[in-house]
């Protein structure tokens, strides 16, 4: 049985994205969830499945309590770090197509800016225990340092440049400003990117994503139910997750320039029955600029090693061949663990993306990237 179009995204919601929310993580998640539920035209009591974020203190029980849900039929987590939100869509499709539940809430929310530096908290997470023992003591502590050698090797093997990475930061910033709910509100030039301080070479400040407060949520509903809800359904045509070789340690990975999404992408495209050339708009997980470039290759939008010239050609800008991160991404809108990418893709396919609307967008793609290289991808179409 294929999961193709067994379910649709029927509701999306967000809070404001800020540096200091002044709200609890639970309140942020409830606010975003209520917005998504209202967007779908559902009642909170109609939520019968919940997939909370595994790195969050908020659990399914919190929603049962606050929404007065009387018959929660399904809860699970998809522990793939930044790939969790898109991987959770796969979980939701499995649960819905198996007849277990009908309307699955996937919430996220965090005080990632005001409650402490996420960038250096990773060592407390179990999926980082091996690097915690062997690499943090010699100096590789934060994700920027752990991921930089992947970017450096790509540069040395394929001639990728810092300016090419900068193009990703610049075009993403442009889109964040159009969005209006982005933390970064001033234009960024390539010169600004090149002048920004080095964090862990080759990654500069503007190659790194934000630390943010806020919440975002989506509702996944069975295809039959979706047709009767408030907004046009956005059908999930294909979805998959992929785990790289040596999933916990980048250092030991046979090919450091391939991410887990390289394994997921062919499965998702096959399920959807479309090719990379059919994608009108893509929201690509962008914890770091290089991770975007590598995923574009692993997804098949260009060949391995050609990501640099591909992005430098302007292909990823609005009006380009493959507009990406039309909301401003993690780099310039907010770091909502990629839930904001799903929200944006749904809006694009509904024609609700405002100034950043890709005209005629019918088929889109969204990715997640997490921990040391886990990947997830979903391909959607407007109903």
């Amino acid at each position: 049985m294929s999961l193709k179009e067994k379910a649709a995204i029927t509701g999306v919601g967000e809070t404001a994205y800020t540096r200091m929310s002044g709200k609890s993580v639970l309140a942020l998640q409830l606010e975003a969830s209520l917005n998504a539920i209202a967007d779908a035209g559902l009642s909170p009591k109609e939520i019968d499945g919940i997939i909370p974020y595994s790195n969050s203190p908020v659990v399914a029980e919190d929603f049962v309590t606050n929404f007065g849900i009387s018959d929660l039929r399904f809860s699970a987590t998809a522990p793939l770090g930044g790939a969790s939100c898109v991987a959770a869509i796969q979980c939701a499709l499995l649960a819905i197509s198996g007849g277990v539940c009908s309307n699955v809430l996937i919430p996220i929310g965090r005080n990632g800016s005001s409650a402490g530096r996420i960038g250096t908290r990773v060592q407390q997470m179990p999926q980082f225990k091996v690097v915690g023992e062997h690499e943090m003591p010699v100096g590789a502590i934060a994700p920027a340092q752990l991921y930089a050698p992947m970017a450096r090797r790509h540069m040395e093997l394929f001639g990728t440049t810092s300016s090419q990475l900068g193009e990703i930061a610049v075009s993403t910033r442009h889109n964040a400003i159009l969005n209006g709910n982005g933390m970064m509100t001033k234009p960024l030039t390539l010169e600004d990117h090149q002048a920004s301080r080095m964090i862990s070479d080759p990654l500069r400040l503007y190659d790194c994503s934000l630390e943010s407060d806020g919440g975002a949520a989506i509702i996944v509903s069975g295809a039959d139910r979706a047709r009767d809800l408030r907004k046009p359904p956005v059908y999930v045509m294909g979805v998959a997750e992929g785990h790289p070789d040596s999933p916990s340690v980048i250092t030991q990975r046979p090919d450091m320039t391939r991410l887990g999404i390289a394994k997921a992408a062919p499965k998702a495209f096959a399920m959807a029955g479309v090719l990379p050339g059919d994608i009108d708009v893509a929201e690509i997980y962008d914890c770091f600029t290089y991770i975007v470039l590598c995923q574009l290759e692993d997804l098949g939008f260009c060949k391995k090693g050609e990501g640099g010239p591909f992005v430098a050609s302007g292909a990823i800008r609005l009006g380009g061949k493959l507009p990406i991160n039309t909301h401003g991404g993690l780099l310039s809108q907010a770091h909502m663990v990629g839930m904001n990418h799903i929200v944006e893709l749904v809006r694009q396919l509904r024609g609700e993306a405002g100034k950043a609307q890709v005209r005629g967008a019918e088929i889109g793609l969204v990715t997640g990237y997490g921990d040391m290289g886990d990947g997830s991808v979903a391909i959607m179409r407007r109903g």
Partner: protein, 140 residues
């Protein structure tokens, strides 16, 4: 300030049952690697079983300490106060001659010296009184 046990701010490894011989080896100036007791595959970082034959049998072998540069990063931002006095520092990902990789800071070399395939040699640094960590230098 003197680097006493109380002021050591860098992350400290917590050896596991499987990795303790590795950390003990560093203390005696030896880079030890796990070699499968059944099929002979060398693996790193230390873990309970061989991913080829699933044997729990392990022999510890002393690595040559020789390798070449697979990739690197030069860290300019101290994410931990223990590295504040060291930035910028060069951290290498090294292909050991034994077929596994290690990560180690490069000492006594300039940024411009680093390139893929550069031969390096592991050295041992007394990080604190009961901890030795690997570092490396360009091989002569």
């Amino acid at each position: 300030m003197a680097m006493t046990a109380e002021t050591y701010l860098k992350p400290v490894p917590e050896p596991t049952h499987e990795s303790r011989p590795y950390w003990d080896g560093l203390k005696s100036g030896r880079l030890l690697l796990q070699k499968c007791g059944q099929c002979g595959k060398i693996r790193h970082y230390p873990r309970p079983i061989c991913d080829v034959c699933y044997s729990f049998e392990v022999n510890w072998i002393e690595a040559s300490g020789r390798g070449t540069v697979h990739s690197w990063t030069i860290t300019h931002h101290a994410f931990n106060p223990g590295f504040k006095l060291e930035v910028p520092f060069i951290l290498l990902t090294i292909d050991l001659d034994e077929g596994v990789r290690v990560q180690a800071p490069l000492r006594g070399a300039r940024e411009a010296d680093v390139k893929l395939g550069l031969p390096v040699r592991i050295i041992f640094e007394q990080a604190k009184h009961d901890l030795v960590t690997p570092a490396c230098v360009v091989a002569s």
